[in-house]
Amino acid sequence: MFHWLEKNPFFFAVAVFVVIAYAGIITILPDFMNSARPVVGTKPYTVLELAGRHVYIKDSCNACHSQLIRPFKSETDRYGMYSLSGEYAYDRPFLWGSKRTGPDLMRVGNYRTTDWHENHMLNPKSLVPGSIMPKYGHMFSNVADIETAYAEALTVKKVFNVPYDEIDMPKLGTFEESSKIVLAEAKMIVDDMKSPEVKAAFARGEIKEIVAIIAYMNSLK
């Protein structure tokens, strides 16, 4: 009965395409606009936080850590309030992850602090005996890429109308203006840190990856 299709490769391919194409349209499109709307109070990342987010992605922390708190009592007790769609409105890409080798980090900013992260990233086992998380010593020597973070912030502002520079929202400005803000923000973190290497670098005007990733971690609330 289907032999006709099997003799006509063109129509066969069209038929396959039609059959596979519309499921995506029907499941993804209807709630697209709705899902893009931010929850009140959600703000885009500052440039320093974005630089930290890039470090998170570069080292694939998402391979082990989720950022999605499911609505179960056991999760809200451990990690805090369950996630809401609008809280992710400025997450490009989303970083929900699909495996929890380590704990969820969606709201880690609520219960971990700069000094804790500094110790932990340098040597997780020194704080949590038995931890299988890698050491991230290289973040104390690598310099964060602020320029690319700025480029991303400016891109999403221009292309997707992300509300930088609006009232109550993070300020972007020109690259020079932005760099000043980044330094001020980084200073608050460096002040809470102990590493002489990081402090010395900051005095030279260099921001290490560790500073950026801590800024990002602290922003997760």
């Binding site: 596979i20 056991s74 080798t101």
Partner: protein, 488 residues
Amino acid sequence: MQSSKIINYDYSVAKLFAIATIVFGIVGMVVGVWIAFQMAYPELNNLANEYGTFGRLRPLHTNIAIFGFILSGVWATWYYIGQRVLKVSMIESPFLMILGKIHFWLYLVGVVGVVVSLFMGITSSKEYAEFEWPIDIAIVVVWVIWGIGIFGLIGIRREKILYISVWYYIATFLGVAMLYLFNNMAVPTYFVTGFGDWWHSVSMYAGTNDAMVQWWYGHNAVAFIFTVPIIAMIYYFLPKESGQPIFSYKLSILSFWGLMFVYLWAGGHHLLYSTVPDWVQTMGSIFSIVLILPSWGSAINMLLTMKGEWQQLKDNPLIKFMVLASTFYMFSTIEGPIQAIKSVNALAHFTDWIPGHVHDGTLGWVGFMIIASLLHMAPRMFKREIYSKKLLESQFWIQTTGIVLYFSSMWIAGLTQGMMWRATDQYGNLAYSFIDTVNVLHPYYTIRGVGGLLYLIGFCMFAYNFYKTMTVGKEIEEEPHSTSPMAA
């Protein structure tokens, strides 16, 4: 039948891809074994500074395994099967011949780009779509070249009716093309602003929408890379190697169209209890259950093709690989749907049970099918006997043991972890800190590592056997009709 004897098929592209399959298989699995042991012995993270950490290596493992090993296997078999079931040789069209070669070499360049960029930490983080836009573009080019190759060969075919395997290759081509394009939509930031790294880009979708597009892609990447082209392989190699006709044409056709229709709806099962709308999740769950049947249809069709052929199953290791592959295919396609039931997913999601499920499919189904396919092709491509049957037999048992260790340890690990995360003490507090749940997994991570190592050893035996077949296997005069000749 007769004309197929006259036609002089050209396997030069198939051979190149076959070798690539083996090389990438070894590399991907070495990295897999490595990261498996890292989870048991985290000191192994520190051997190559930032380049050796789990986070950098895991995407390398998945991408080399999927886009190196599996895709090479898919193409090796396409350049072999395509000609034979369409009854046309690539020699007949210099254009297709050159295109095939370009396909291979361009692909190789792409893989090098992938390896270098992932080591450097250049990734967009979306699973199985980690590459930045320059590599995405290269992939699209490679894909289009393959597409021209497929339809070119179909265009000059002698066999008017497309064989089942060809249906599946066409579907692979179309499915991946559609999924890959949409999921990788991104805006390069340098070109918008003039600042920063030129290769950096930002996703077109944000948050929940990004997640929906990603798992519409991710789930169906599984469909159209781990499943559909592998079915293409089994529909050709099992009947060919056994000399048995396909059990039922009707079952083939219903399974094919059923799979095409149902698969695409099921992506929501990766997002259960997330912030995507409830109804999308429900769709994902119920379509996953329906998906059991079209999946099992193909596997049953294959098992019934072997009806009454117990002797062959006992005597021929290639048949063993393929029958066990169908079995693992059935196993993972009932495991997946059950994990897609909401309450089960509440326990299973985020745990090691998921990598367990993944490797039931990749090691048991994909890996075994690719191994069997290449071994069936070898005597026909090189006109030599398979070098050693004994080696093949031991390989089979070593790898099967490896898979059993892999999945049993991950099942236990996943269920334990899931239950510990939820457990409360008599006061209603969480009973375990997170690190408690990590510590109990140590033995299972070790067992998984050993299982993976066994599988890798078996794969190296296969590589050796294949290499020997290629170089010193006993020459054969006439192409065997069915059972592949092998030296004891």
